[in-house]
Subunit: 572 residues, 2 copies
């Protein structure tokens, strides 16, 4: 097949008089005073073709409809009325030969950047939705981002190694997807939630530096930014400490942002302890693109004799200085936000026309008011209770206000390392510890893990971008003894340890080097870099929020024969 000479974004005045050969889709066809204009589209752009009435292909050109696939040979000529918006807008191609490669019915969604099609329709006709230039751009960027990240890792001596998709079910945390085995009826493989154990085994094997663009699976009830399968850039290295991994990730980000977005990213990234992040931002993934910090107001309010504050260990608040326009109704909505995010009640005080008003204004002494230093128009939101829920509630309110008042610099990329994590968290309900990251995270001090697990700290670090956790990592436990202690502390029985992690605990005793790593959420990184709010936009064939493939209609019924071979039956 004759190859095209140019993509449809390439021709300009420099090509005047050239004979060119183009292919693509008819994006728009117009018949103006006998001249037929066709906007020819491919993944790179659009070029205008013109077919004159005396052209032997004029009859054919008359038949071309939107989305027909055509080839055209012609001469580049200057346009009479130029289109400054279009890269190729100064020229058009005077068609000498036109070939129809395929016709098209009218598509159920319009092929243009703007669409008013419903999401379900777009997902059902994904192959048409992906024909829209804006959608193609997401996938092209995803490709570029993946290549840029990989290049840094390859240059740094990391080996790209593949790990199995058919693994073993070791549920701890999320739910596994299971795959029935035909050869061993009644047993199951599980799809990996991450290649965590495999990548640590690569370190045991002495491969020293590993990465993988790894598909991972979680059978969880989905949120807007989650898919049942997702991709992580999975990284592990031996003979490293936290700084080494962080330096590699920073290098990845600098080079990838430069290459793909031509944006300069400053390093080293800011570091903040988990504790400070909770204190100031009420979040373990603070958005650093704006201030509006949470502050302690214990001094002022703890003495006030109101049920709201009484007996509460913390009174914390957000002081917002441009609060003039916030209505009572809006504050009621804020209260809902606070309640949804573990907060008890929302109190507030505002300074308006030199007067203090608000739900608790009348309980304050003049001196107390003075100490708050409220400027005209400012409003102070207060929540009282335990440190974590209070901070989380105010953190959520902080985001609400930032969005509403456009405090966020949408062009900024603000990276942050959240460090100094607690190793464990205690579930009061279940009366047991859970690993804050995962049970392979190394403690800063194994003695504290043993003697005072509540206060054990982890060699863990999350990377946060614009308020999203885009990756989490840690130095891993490389001592068999400490790994056993960790499992013990988590309340796993000896039998549990043996059944689920026996081979892994075994592996640790044959000369395991110190090692650590990180996993970057590729979908989220692409989402943030392309500035879309919808993770589905950056996944070629995504599933709905209820884990359904609208295009293929999966999951689906299967033949009874298939179930018989697997010796499984459907039903309670």
């Amino acid at each position: 097949m004759q190859t095209y000479t140019h993509h449809n974004n390439e021709l300009s005045m420099a090509h005047l008089g050239n004979e060119v050969y183009l292919k693509g889709w008819a994006a728009k066809v117009r018949n103006l005073g006998g001249l037929i204009f066709i906007d020819l589209r491919d993944r790179k752009g659009v070029t205008q073709l013109v077919v004159k009435p005396e052209n032997p292909f004029y009859e054919l050109a008359l038949k071309i409809r939107n989305e027909y696939v055509i080839e055209a040979k012609g001469i580049v000529i200057e346009r009479e009325s130029k289109n400054k918006q279009l890269h190729t807008g100064e020229i058009e191609v005077d068609v000498k030969e036109l070939i129809l490669l395929n016709s098209a019915e009218t598509p159920p969604i319009t092929i243009s950047d703007n669409t008013d099609a419903l999401e379900d329709t777009r997902l059902k006709y994904r192959y048409l939705d992906l024909r829209r230039p804006v959608m193609q751009n997401y996938l092209i960027k995803r490709h570029q981002i993946t290549q840029a990240i990989r290049q840094v890792l390859v240059d740094e001596g990391f080996l790209e190694l593949e790990t199995p998709i058919l693994g073993k079910s070791t549920p701890e945390g999320a739910r596994d997807y299971l795959v029935p085995s035909r050869l061993y009826p009644g047993t199951f493989y599980a799809l990996p939630q991450s290649p965590q154990i495999y990548k640590q085994l690569f370190m045991v094997a002495g491969l020293e530096r590993y990465f993988q663009v790894a598909r991972c699976f979680r059978d969880e009830d989905l949120r807007a930014d989650r898919q049942p399968e997702f991709t992580q850039i999975d990284i592990e290295a031996s003979f490293v400490d936290m700084d080494d991994i962080q330096a590699i990730i920073e290098k990845i980000m600098v080079k990838t942002f430069k290459k793909v977005l031509n944006t300069d990213i400053q390093t080293p990234f800011l570091k903040m302890s988990y504790q400070e992040a909770m204190e100031k931002y009420g979040s373990d993934k603070p958005d650093m693109r704006y201030e509006l910090l949470i502050q302690d107001y214990n001094d002022v309010f703890k003495t006030i004799d109101l049920p709201l504050f009484k007996g509460k260990s913390h009174v914390r608040g957000l002081l917002f200085e441009q609060g003039q326009t916030i209505t009572r109704k809006r504050i009621d909505q804020y209260t809902e936000v606070v309640k949804k995010n573990h907060g008890d009640m929302l109190a507030y005080i505002r300074m308006q026309d030199g007067q203090i008003t608000g739900s608790i204004a009348k309980f304050l002494t003049e001196e107390q008011v003075k100490s708050l230093k409220l400027s005209e128009g400012s409003i102070l939101f207060l929540v009282a209770g335990e440190f974590e829920p209070v901070s989380q509630a105010l953190g959520a309110l902080r985001i609400e206000i930032a969005n509403e008042f456009k405090l966020i610099d949408e062009n900024a990329f603000k990276f942050l390392w959240v460090v100094d994590w607690p190793l464990l968290e205690y579930s009061e309900e279940e009366k047991r510890f859970y690993a804050k990251h995962h049970p392979f995270t190394a403690p800063v001090d194994a003695k504290i893990l043993k003697d005072d697990p509540k206060n054990a700290m982890a060699k863990a670090y999350d990377i946060v971008l614009n308020g999203y956790e885009i990756g989490g990592g840690s130095i891993r436990i490389h001592s068999q003894e400490v790994q056993r202690l960790m499992f013990d502390t988590l309340g796993l029985s000896q039998e549990d340890i043996t059944n689920r992690f026996g081979f892994f605990v075994d592996a640790l005793k044959y000369g395991t080097p110190p090692h650590g790593g990180l996993a970057l959420g590729l979908d989220r990184v692409v989402m943030l870099m392309t500035k879309t709010a919808n993770i589905k936009d950056v996944v070629a064939f995504p599933k709905t929020q209820s884990a359904k493939d609208m295009m293929m209609q999966a999951p689906s019924d299967v033949d009874q024969k298939q179930l018989d071979e697997l010796m499984i039956k459907v039903g309670k």
Copy 2:
């Protein structure tokens, strides 16, 4: 953690006197006249450390056993007795500081290139098996090969795009692995046997050039060179013909062999029709590293009045000229090979000491013998019957003899395109057609597919290396009408088409460009390039022939709770 200054393959006389910092595993520890020598190993190589009795770390050095993980700082000195076999054999490192990072129990398999461990043991302790340099090399080569292939594709404008692992079951050919859905009890996802439909949809979407290092799954009874999951380099392009795809694949091979093995590959690759491959080699994937061609002997033998030949449409044979040493017993074994490969019986004639002997010698006239032109020591093997089974049987015998008599140039890489495939094959048992490749392969002439499907030819091409099919591809059907005709010819009912491929047939009508592609079997390519005979060697964590993970013990039992959530039960 302090970074090492060198890997263990790097130091030479050029570094004499340098202070260096090394890490790795104690591969061998010797105590010679008070001096302790430690071979320190990492993924790159080995460096000898020496610790003298006066060294403050001598006591520690005495404790080092094989596979302990250590760090050493020291000075590069010249060795007294040099080891020419070793890259670093002229020097050693006089240790100044030694740190024990982790101890090791005696491993159950020896960590060296040669092993006598059983395969099951090696698979169980895969993390130790992978510590053997020869095994690490397979994975390192796999990494390099993958990068080299990807680089060509990226440079050629292909986009690396991901397709779902959780797809829809559309069994046609191999068995699908199924994944029960929790949200829609009784329905199932299927793991992809290949991303075939997705990649064609990318073409419908106008993404024009796609590739993926794609994981694929087949729940088949495994052969030695098959794994339940495998990796293919999946490639698709629009506006191409067969030559275009073949040219890209040839470029991939040339660049990859040069980069990874420093081997020059000649292009264009030889092309041979399927018919000729069967005629001369009795195989659709002929090994071109040696001759020993199959020939027709109809003229001579069809007239002979023996049940062996009577009424048979074809008498074909292999003439082997160095057959002196072949015993009767061996010929009996050859007969088994022939029978296992669709052959009926094996006859033979040999020329020894000027005499004709062999199972059918006495039935031949002198003239007939003369026409065979048998040289001294040669032996002619004959099989009679239908063309395909006869040729396959002789093809298998050809391989058997080539291996036995070392006719194969083990250093050669002989590529071949097998082209001009029939589109369909007819199953006499089931009285229906099957697609020789898959139902999306374009016919050379759709009219013949309609009028005379038995004789329809396909726009298909397989790439063969050293007797292995390493990839298969085709130009696809891009017309909805032809696709429907194809499904009809395969005997799919309208309901079947709608249920299984409805969305795809639908997609074809909205302006689908001509397109085609190929999938390369990465595991096989790596296997051939690293010259191992065992596909498990090039897969990091392979499964056994019965699809078992010996290390993790998967598949395994799962909790009843997991099954309850999926609403499935085990049992007939």
